[in-house]
């Protein structure tokens, strides 16, 4: 029996979750279109299917908490508060982008939002999150560091080094594994001796739990609980959210390694329509209310694309800026 939504959060919050998931999906699908048109170049890793993780988790954190992620992070930046148009401009490589066009899809960053970066070296963000958590404790700041990563990243040395370190120094880090069951084309059982990822923290005595990453409320509740645990105790905590990406690893990947049946099974669990149905069934929204939200998101993304298109390229002189030696 599912817990009724209203017992978890007020209506306004519940509708915001829908809006954030919807704009995430809309943004990514428009990115795919813009990539096909040649407006977005390079690597493009889309988040479609995983929205419930970012939306639920971000809502469970405080605004002062740091967020770090990998390269599949457009939605995470937007859900944290980045303007979609500045994210889109970054993807277009324009001067108005969130990193002045110097970062690109995989390197979004905005310290004013405590969004401390997208990193494209698998496992690169773990130690940086630990360091940020240390700085928070050192400076007696009331904030934790939430570190998102994929199932593929848990086989990197930095994963183990950072889990050990965070527990050894007793630092407020919340590790959030987005287990979408694939690292590019390699299914998790082909890369991990222990595929039940949350169990891996035993070796470091870090409490962990597994949550349904296709259910925004489940993620929200788990992260809210975990974040408070981390905040109160100052110790690390680990969440594994099981999820699925509906697209290939990147735009270059047709995802031939996954069966149609598997894809269909996960499609049936798409977090957007399922959550929309719950909102309607529980009388929180009507179809019309949701359609109005969807239209608003579409307009925002339309405007983001237009803004990106019309924005100027960076000046050549930009290559000599933000570098000291």
């Amino acid at each position: 029996m599912e817990v009724r939504l209203r017992t978890i959060a007020p209506d306004q919050e519940l509708l915001k979750f829908y809006e954030q998931m919807y704009i995430s999906r809309e943004f990514e699908e428009r990115c795919a279109e813009q990539y096909t048109k040649g407006h977005i170049t390079g690597f493009l890793h889309l988040y479609s299917g995983q929205e419930a993780v970012s939306v639920g988790a971000t809502a469970g954190l405080h605004r002062d908490d740091y967020i770090l992620s990998a390269y599949r992070e457009h939605a995470q930046a937007i859900v944290r508060g980045a303007e979609p148009r500045r994210v889109m401009a970054e993807l277009f490589g324009k001067a108005t982008g969130i990193c002045k066009g110097k970062g690109g899809s995989m390197h979004l960053f905005d310290p004013s939002l405590n969004f401390m970066g997208g990193y494209a070296i698998v496992g690169g963000q773990f130690p940086i999150a630990v360091g940020l958590a240390f700085s928070a404790r050192y400076r007696s700041e009331d904030r934790i560091a939430a570190c998102f990563f994929g199932d593929g990243a848990v086989n990197q040395g930095t994963f183990h080094e950072s889990l050990n370190w965070a527990q050894l120094w007793q630092l407020p880090v919340l590790f959030i594994c987005e287990n979408n069951f694939y690292g590019i084309g390699t299914e998790v059982h082909r890369s991990s001796a222990l595929a039940s990822i949350h169990k891996r923290t035993c070796g470091y005595d870090i409490p962990s739990e597994k949550v349904d990453g296709m259910d925004v409320m489940a993620v929200y509740r788990a992260v809210k609980y975990a974040a408070e645990k981390v905040r109160e105790s100052g110790h690390p905590y680990f969440i594994e959210a099981t999820t699925y990406r509906f697209r290939g690893h990147s735009m270059a990947d047709p995802a031939k390694y996954r069966s149609a049946a598997e894809h269909e099974m996960w499609k049936a669990r798409d977090p957007l329509p399922n959550y929309a149905r719950r909102l309607i069934e529980e009388g929180i929204a009507t179809r019309e209310v949701l359609e109005a939200i969807e239209a608003r998101c579409q307009t925002t993304v339309d405007e983001a694309v237009k803004f990106a298109e019309e924005s100027p390229w960076p000046d050549d002189s930009a290559v000599w800026e933000d570098i000291y030696v």
Binding site: F109, P111, M116, G124, I128, L132, T158, V325
Partner: protein
Amino acid sequence: MSEMTYRDALNLALKEEMRRDSSVFVLGEDVALYEGSFKVTRGLLAEFGEERVKDTPISENTIIGVSVGAAMGGLRPVAELMTVNFALLAMDQIINHMAKICFMFGGQTFLPMTIRMPGGGGSQLGAQHSQSLETYFMHCPGMYVLYPATPADAKGLLKSAIRNNNPVIFLEHELLYNSKGEVPEDPEYLVPIGTADVKRPGEHVTIVAYARMTVLALQAAEQLAEEGVSCEVVDLRSLAPLDEGSILASVRKTGRAVVVEECWRTCGLGAEITSRIYENCFDILKSPVKRVSGLDVPMPYSREIEKICLPRSETIRQAVMDVMSGAY
């Protein structure tokens, strides 16, 4: 001024900067309780306590990554990698993260961090513990690379590194830790990053060197003076950025140059410096530039053959004589 060792000068720099700024903290393997494998962090734990002087696991990549995060969060980490050889395990955080973050995030954050690394050969430590990797760091934009030769420069440069708002690779030569010299006591004594220093003025030949190579070059110059050859020894101090102006000014004066590097010859920093001399001073050179380098081999253990793999004052002297006589 007071006389002290290179080690004590570094130690004093750390203490002064930690007293001056509470956001400075030290981390690394064995730096706290054990006071550092070369004892550079002696007394720090006692004076500054557990939260500012931190022993870490043997996790080099994460030592640097944690420093990156701490710097991003507003602190001034001074990380010690036990020796430069182990920096190779941290190259991902050094090159892919630390050196990139300011630029790739559009200047929205900066990393005031220093990584100290003892290194260099000559102690019969074998192939894996005797490397001179300075060129590896110089090659990559986004970080300063400093390598002092004297106690005074060690102190002044380390203090400048810690106060700098951007990443600094700070190399220390293991064979210089016990060397002595006069060191200014002024806690505001700083050596500016990016400036070479003429350690000995001369007229006939410029010897460009750094760290222990400077010490050897000065020995060679002393000997050569007795033989009637006047050498100008330019101590780089800062490898990135290179003080090209000082190098070229000296070569324009003498018309001859010998470039000394402890690292491997192929693609070594001597190649870069030599190329810059040719590009800028070709017309005034009285003879071709000569390089004195480490041999392109893994370091052998045995003292008698390790010796020939590294520049010596005798090989520097010979290179100067060759340049003077036109014998190549």
